[in-house]
Symmetry: C2
Subunit: 321 residues, 2 copies
């Protein structure tokens, strides 16, 4: 039997890595643990950007140019909301609205968010388990020179321009990890931390009490892919956030975020010079081409990651370091 793989994934980078694994020879043994801390209510509807990006990407419905939202969208509902005086800074297409209306209705009926995410994924045709770290509401808040902002306001409305001084996951303290997430971590042979934002994507998942501990206790081989290449993020505000938190804005900074948590950090080939410093943090390091421009890149990177992992035979009876 093939080794069971669990991917921790945020938004666009996470979805690309998920696509690579899903299209690879390892697709049958894949589960995905997504981020719900970017979720928020917009126009009274519950929007779950990272989870939808995963669902839409993995079912070929994603707007590939933007990296999020559905392709072939129209925005008549949004325009009509705007005419009603609503502030429509968050683009939501007409088809995408259906997802949010449906999700909001089911939440109101008391159905667990985990069950809703699975249901929506299946309705879109995705059968790979898509798990939530918690069914509770936990939301990323950033303290900036414009005051406290929810993540979508910082990211979409203000285009990551405000200066960040602090990042918190509101509600994390009292949140409860889902049994599905804890079991998936326990059962995994390989755990991959996608090249997502180490703070507000992977860090957000790890903020849920029990998740980080389960990861540390897991005997799986754990590896992360650095989302920072040549000191810059491919997409999103990871570089700005690392700087704001006084963490080096490079693969070494990513290694610091994951110190004590992973066995291996995979960095881009152009960051090879950092290998020694990363090794000194007590983890293995591999460098390769980590850019994922197209599906072939994604599959190649996915298969390369798995090739770095010990085989089942070599792992049996031994704990990973």
């Amino acid at each position: 039997m093939s080794q069971s793989i669990l991917l921790l994934a945020g938004g666009v980078g996470g979805a690309k890595m998920a696509e690579g694994l899903l299209q690879s020879q390892f697709s049958n043994s894949l589960s995905i643990l997504g981020n719900i801390c970017d979720d928020q209510e917009i126009h009274g509807l519950w929007v779950s950007p990272d989870i939808d990006t995963l669902t839409y990407t993995l079912t070929d419905r994603i707007d590939t140019e933007k990296g999020w939202g559905l392709k072939d969208e129209t925005n008549r509902t949004l325009d009509a909301l705007n005419a009603l005086g609503e502030d429509t800074w968050m683009y939501l297409g007409d088809q995408d609205f259906a997802t949010h209306i449906y999700r909001t209705q089911l939440r109101k009926q008391g159905i667990r968010p985990s069950v809703i995410a699975k249901d929506i994924a299946q309705k879109f045709g995705l059968n790979t388990p898509l798990l939530l770290p918690t069914d509770d509401i936990v939301q990323t808040r950033v303290n900036t020179d414009k005051g406290w902002l929810d993540f979508q306001s910082y990211f979409v409305r203000y285009q990551c321009q405000p200066q960040i001084s602090e990042i918190v996951f509101k509600g994390a303290d009292s949140a409860k990890a889902t049994t599905e997430a804890l079991k998936a971590i326990q059962d995994a042979d390989i755990i991959v931390l996608a090249p997502s934002n180490p703070i507000v994507s992977i860090g957000a998942i790890l903020s849920i009490p029990g998740i980080r501990e389960a990861l540390i206790q897991s005997t799986a081989y754990k590896l992360a892919v650095s989302p920072i290449i040549g000191g810059k993020t491919v997409k999103g505000p990871a570089d700005k956030m690392l700087q704001a938190l006084d963490i080096p804005c490079n693969a070494l900074g990513v290694a610091q975020c994951y110190q004590g948590l992973i066995d291996l950090l995979v960095i881009d080939q152009q960051d090879q010079a950092l290998c020694e410093e990363i090794s000194a943090l007590g983890m293995q390091v591999q460098s390769t081409d980590t850019m994922m421009h197209n599906r072939a890149d994604k599959v190649r990177l996915a298969e390369q990651l798995i090739s770095y992992c010990p085989t089942e035979t070599s792992m049996s009876g031994s704990e990973s370091i």
Copy 2:
């Protein structure tokens, strides 16, 4: 100063009558009291068909062919909800969805439905007061050979086919009339009952405790227009409902519904033969062409109705009979 006119209006027939009055010389003295008993939650959103039909009609945004909904609609949100497994028997267009999303959001914030209806009307450009009989939830339910149905299921989903045995307004007993509606009834010089369904449109408004009593106590001149012409309804299930309740399915039946409540019943010219029987119920009767095919018809009928009313001078110091 012109006499103040209050129109009690249901769906399509009520909206046509409202349009006639709004386009007439009496537009400045008009207020409209709508029906909220057809409201219901669809896909988790609060839909208010009669109120929206009034707003859309009076701002020239109505789909004139259907008589409800917005013109130039698309249905990508509905199609996407259908793909998610939702039963989409109720047509809701993409622009119309914005109205329901907006309304639902404001209701959730605890804003009074009356205030929301006024706000939406104003955002569409309607400045004529559009009042709700109550801010509470009251819903028409029909007992049929298919069991108890909400009104939209009976009307839209089952196309008025089920045999009706009973009609109730669920929640009416404990509902509270709005002060705006009671004041409008008290202040009116002329009260017009639109050619709407006397049972589930006008009757629904009258089911709210205090509304019927206020109408009876009002010194306004009260007239109704029969929605039944030649024993048939122009649109909707009024004829079937009268039959189900053992009320004659003609203008005389409408007169029976409004006995003790109105001063004058306006019937269609083809129903002249019923004048004597209607008079015997203690109300005046006038016959004219009541069909409203186009705007000119609507305005002509509106002005004719007002011409039947006593002038301010003739009314002063005297109670209407």
